[in-house]
C-alpha cells in the first residue's frame, strides 16, 4: 500500500492512563469503551451509588441494577492541580465533582472551558476521551443544548 501525500495524519496517541478495572466496576468501564454511560442503582431502594460496589450503602440490599444514565449534571466543586503535573496529562486537567441528574456525585474532568470560566452549578454533559490501551473514560464538557 502506498501512501499519498495528502493522507490524513492519524490522531495523536492518547496519553491518559487507562482505568484500573476492578470486578465490581467492569460493566461501567466496558460501557465506557462503547461510549455508554452506565450507573449502578439498588434493586430494592432504587438509589444510585458511585463507585460501583456489591452492597447498597442506603438499605444494604445486594440487588444491583445497571442503568443508563442521562449523562447530564452540574458542577458541584472544581479545582485544577497545576503542580506536579498529573501523570498522563499533557496539560493540567480541570477536576470536578459533578452532580449527575440522577443525584449521585462523582469526581471527573471538565474540558472545553477555561478554568476561570468554570461556574458553580454550571450545566455539563458527558462525553468520552480515549486512554492508552484503547479504552475510553467518561469526562464532561459544558452542556451544548437544553434537553
Amino acid at each position: 500500500m502506498t501512501q499519498t501525500p495528502d493522507a490524513p495524519t492519524p490522531p495523536p496517541k492518547p496519553t491518559r492512563i487507562a482505568p484500573i478495572i476492578q470486578h465490581d466496576a467492569k460493566f461501567f468501564w466496558d460501557a465506557s469503551d462503547k461510549e455508554e454511560f452506565l450507573g449502578e442503582k439498588c434493586g430494592d431502594c432504587q438509589q444510585f451509588r458511585f463507585p460501583p460496589r456489591p452492597m447498597c450503602p442506603h438499605c444494604h440490599s445486594l440487588k444491583r441494577e445497571e442503568v443508563k444514565l442521562s449523562g447530564y449534571g452540574t458542577v458541584h466543586g472544581w479545582t485544577i492541580p497545576r503542580h506536579p503535573p498529573p501523570f498522563g496529562f499533557k496539560e493540567a486537567p480541570i477536576v470536578i465533582i459533578v452532580e449527575l441528574q440522577e443525584g449521585t456525585r462523582m469526581v471527573s474532568n471538565l474540558v472545553g472551558v477555561a478554568y476561570e470560566d468554570v461556574k458553580q452549578d454550571m450545566e455539563v454533559e458527558v462525553f468520552f476521551e480515549p486512554t492508552m490501551g484503547n479504552h475510553k473514560v467518561p469526562v464532561f464538557r459544558p452542556r451544548s443544548k437544553k434537553a
Binding site: 492541580p81 497545576r82 503542580h83 456525585r105
Partner: protein, 382 residues
C-alpha cells in the same frame, strides 16, 4: 466506664523531621523511642506491648525497629489508618491500658517518605477513581477550599493566613522540617500554585520522621500527662452528596465522643495540635471540633484567636505545614508536642498557661468513604 483505669503518657520523644535520604527508617524511630523511654524513666523490660503506626512501612518495620532498642518477645501491633495511623496506634494503646490489658506500652509512629515519593505529592491509590481523574492529594483539599469559597465567599488570603501562622510558629521549632522559615502573607500567596486555590506554601512538606510515647498506668512521676479522653471514629459510606466539603464526619464524631468522655467543652481547651496537611484542613477541622460554627473557621487565624498568643493557640509546633508530615509519625508527633506544651517544655514556641490540650488527626482519602479514620484526644498534666 467506671472500671476503666487511669491512663497517662509517661514520656515522649521524637526525631527531627525532614528529608533524610541517608538515614534508615528504623534509626529515626530509635532516636524517638530512646528519648521517650528516658523521659518516662521506663526500662525496656517494663514494656508489655508495642503499638506502631505506619502507612508505607516497609513491611516488618515495627519488628526491625525493635532490634535496636532491646525490646522483643512482647506483642507488636502495627496499625494503618492513613494519616491518622500514629494516633490510631496511640488510641489503641490507651484503650489497652484503660481496660487493664497492659500497664505499660510503647507507642511509636514511623515513616520515611523521601525514599518513596520523589516527585512531590503522595500518589493517590490507583484504583480510586479520584486519582485517575488527575486528582492528587493536594487537589482533593483544593476541591474543599474551592467549595468553601463558593459557599461562604471566603477569599484565598484567609487560607494563606493559616500557613503564615503555622509556619511562623514552626520557625521557632528546632525539630521542624521548615525551622527558621516564616513566610509573609505575600510570599504564601505568590508561591507556586499547586492546586487552585492552594499554593505551595499551603501544603505540608513530604517528610521522614518518627515520634514515640510511653503510655501506661501512672507512676506518680513528675511530668506525667493524663489522658482525659481518646476517641477514634472511622469513615462512613459517603458519595459526596452531603453538605460537608469532603469527609469531616469522622473528626466531628471523634471530637463529640472525646468531649463526652471527659466532660470538657471545646471552649475550655488551651492548646491544640490538629491536622493541617493543607491550610483548608485546619479550618475545616476547627469547625468539626466545634471551636466555632461552620463557615467561621477561616476567621480564627486572622482574628488572632488561634495564634500562639491567642485565646486558643492551634499548631504552636508549626503543625504539619512546618513540622512536615511523615504520615504514620504525625499523630505521635502531635501527642509529643502537646505533652511538651502542657509541661511548659516546648521552648521558643511555648504557649503560655496551657493546662488542657487537644490532639486531632484525620486520615482521609478512600473513594466511596468519608475517609479512613480520625482520632481526637484530650490531655492534661497530672
Amino acid at each position: 466506664m467506671s472500671d476503666r483505669k487511669e491512663v497517662v503518657i509517661r514520656g515522649v520523644g521524637s526525631s527531627h523531621y525532614g528529608r533524610f535520604p541517608d538515614r534508615r527508617v528504623e534509626s529515626l524511630a530509635w532516636e524517638a523511642i530512646l528519648e521517650a523511654m528516658q523521659d518516662a524513666g521506663a526500662e525496656a523490660g517494663e514494656i508489655e506491648a508495642v503499638f506502631v503506626g505506619s502507612v508505607f512501612g516497609p513491611p516488618g518495620v515495627a519488628t526491625r525497629t525493635l532490634r535496636g532498642i532491646g525490646i522483643g518477645g512482647v506483642p507488636v501491633i502495627t496499625i494503618e489508618a492513613a494519616c491518622a495511623s500514629g494516633t490510631a496506634a496511640y488510641h489503641e494503646a490507651c484503650e489497652a491500658v484503660a481496660l487493664g490489658r497492659y500497664s505499660c506500652v510503647l507507642v511509636f509512629g514511623i515513616e520515611h517518605l523521601s525514599s518513596l515519593f520523589t516527585r512531590g505529592a503522595i500518589v493517590p491509590e490507583a484504583t480510586d477513581s479520584e486519582g485517575r481523574a488527575g486528582l492528587p492529594l493536594p487537589g482533593l483539599y483544593a476541591l474543599q477550599a474551592q467549595r468553601y469559597m463558593a459557599q461562604f465567599g471566603t477569599r484565598p488570603e484567609a487560607f494563606a493566613e493559616v500557613a503564615v501562622k503555622n509556619k511562623g510558629n514552626g520557625a521557632h521549632n528546632p525539630r521542624a522540617q521548615l525551622k527558621g522559615s516564616a513566610p509573609t502573607l505575600d510570599e504564601v500567596m505568590s508561591a507556586k500554585m499547586i492546586a487552585e486555590p492552594l499554593t505551595f506554601l499551603q501544603c505540608c512538606p513530604v517528610s521522614d520522621g518518627s515520634a514515640a510515647a510511653v503510655v501506661g498506668r501512672p507512676k506518680g512521676r513528675r511530668g506525667e500527662v493524663r489522658v482525659l479522653a481518646s476517641a477514634m471514629a472511622s469513615g462512613q459510606l459517603w458519595d459526596h452528596r452531603s453538605k460537608e466539603f469532603w469527609g469531616e464526619g469522622p473528626v466531628r464524631r471523634a471530637a463529640q465522643a472525646a468531649y463526652a468522655q471527659s466532660g470538657i467543652k471545646p471552649s475550655e481547651v488551651d492548646v491544640l495540635e490538629v491536622h493541617d496537611s493543607f491550610t483548608i484542613g485546619e479550618i475545616l477541622t476547627l469547625e468539626a471540633l466545634d471551636l466555632c460554627k461552620v463557615g467561621e473557621g477561616a476567621s480564627l487565624a486572622p482574628s488572632g484567636h488561634t495564634q500562639r498568643g491567642g485565646q486558643q493557640p492551634v499548631n504552636p509546633s508549626g503543625g504539619l505545614l512546618s513540622r512536615g508530615h511523615p504520615l504514620g509519625a504525625t499523630g505521635t508527633a502531635q501527642i509529643a508536642e502537646i505533652v511538651w506544651q502542657l509541661r511548659g517544655m516546648a521552648g521558643a514556641h511555648q504557649v503560655p498557661n496551657a493546662k488542657l490540650g487537644l490532639v486531632e488527626t484525620m486520615g482521609g482519602g478512600a473513594a466511596g468513604m468519608e475517609g479512613n479514620a480520625s482520632v481526637v484526644s484530650l490531655l492534661a498534666l497530672r
